[in-house]
């Protein structure tokens, strides 16, 4: 048994349930304050780029900004396609293909 993986999964499950159940089961009838609602809406908008951009731009603890860095072009491709409402699979596949291609030639 891989204890680390299972403990992590259970921890994630508990943490996620704690975001869903308390207000729902208590049938909270009072709406959240507007600023809290605004904050909760902004959280994924801030966390996702905070996660993705360093994966693209930071390589071995250093900034990789060169035009010869394949993930940079992959990021541009997926971002533009998704912003144009191309579906997830197609935009991710296109970006992955661009990265694979640039690595193959580079």
């Amino acid at each position: 048994m891989r204890t680390y993986v299972w403990v992590t999964i259970v921890g994630m499950a508990v943490a996620t349930y704690l975001t869903r159940a308390p207000m729902f089961v208590a049938l909270a009838s009072r709406p959240l304050p507007p600023r809290v609602r605004l904050w909760l809406r902004l959280v994924p908008l801030a966390v996702l780029p905070a996660l993705a951009i360093p994966m693209v731009l930071v390589h071995d603890g250093r900034l990789a900004l060169g035009l010869a860095h394949p993930p940079l072009w992959g990021a541009v491709v997926v971002f533009v396609l998704a912003a144009c409402r191309v579906n997830l699979l197609a935009s991710v596949t296109a970006a992955v293909a661009v990265v694979a291609l640039l690595r193959a030639v580079g």
């Binding site: 959240l32 609602r37 959280v43 994924p44 908008l45 360093p54 731009l57 394949p70 993930p71 990265v99």
Partner: protein, 224 residues
């Protein structure tokens, strides 16, 4: 309930594909199919699962993965609070079970149809969405095991690609762009100096809190 199920059918293919991509990548990252299925049933929150998989693959501390999951899923508080009044009269054990099915797509379907959302529409949608996600994950784990040497095909880039596409569809206002770019810049700066994955949480929380404090509260964020 039928109405919600039918209204969600348009979303079934994309949720299914989303699940398939997740299942395939998770197996590619070294998780076992059983672990991926358990995660999808017990956590059932796609974006946070995508975030967790590379962290687990890199052996990140349990606490880091759990706290990151919690922060990404905090948006459920918003949905739970909006949905709760529609479920008066349901018994508590049912509420505890239905709460687990709260998801972005069903929330969008139910609140687009009526305000306050209808409990039946929501339940029908949750059935369609959770079913297609879980089936998608199972199919993905079975297919994902077929590819070896994933980095040769650029598959390691699929994670940031998924995150970027999730961000791209959420950017509607100029202030959204400012928050996203600010979070990204701060995260890159922190990633260069901090060990591990803490730059994600620090930059994500800092940028969203600053945004919540200084941006004007508009119609969409007002109480329903």
């Amino acid at each position: 309930m039928r109405a919600g199920f039918i209204a969600s059918l348009a979303l079934v293919p994309s949720v299914f594909v989303y699940g398939t991509v997740f299942g395939g990548l998770a197996v590619q990252s070294g998780l076992w199919p059983l672990e991926v299925w358990a995660m999808s049933l017990l956590v059932f929150a796609g974006a946070s699962q995508f975030v967790a998989v590379p962290m687990i693959a890199a052996g990140a501390p349990v606490l880091a993965v759990v706290v990151t999951t919690y922060v990404i899923n905090m948006r459920h508080y918003l949905m739970a609070a909006t949905l709760a009044p529609s479920f008066r009269g349901f018994r508590r054990p049912w509420l505890a079970l239905i709460a687990h099915l709260i998801n972005d797509e069903s929330f969008a379907v139910a609140s687009a149809r009526s305000r306050p959302p209808d409990a039946g529409v929501y339940l029908g949608s949750a059935a369609a969405i959770s079913g297609s996600f879980v089936v998608g994950v199972v199919v993905g784990t079975l297919l994902g095991g077929l590819v070896d040497r994933p980095e040769r095909y650029g598959l390691d880039f699929a994670f940031p690609a998924v995150f970027l596409s999730l961000v791209a569809v959420q950017l509607r206002r100029r202030s959204d762009w400012l928050i996203a770019i600010g979070a990204a810049a701060l995260a890159v700066a922190l990633a260069l100096v901090l060990p591990g994955n803490w730059h994600i949480l620090i930059a994500g929380l800092a940028a969203s809190l600053v945004g919540a404090l200084i941006l004007p509260v508009d119609e969409e964020d007002a109480p329903v």
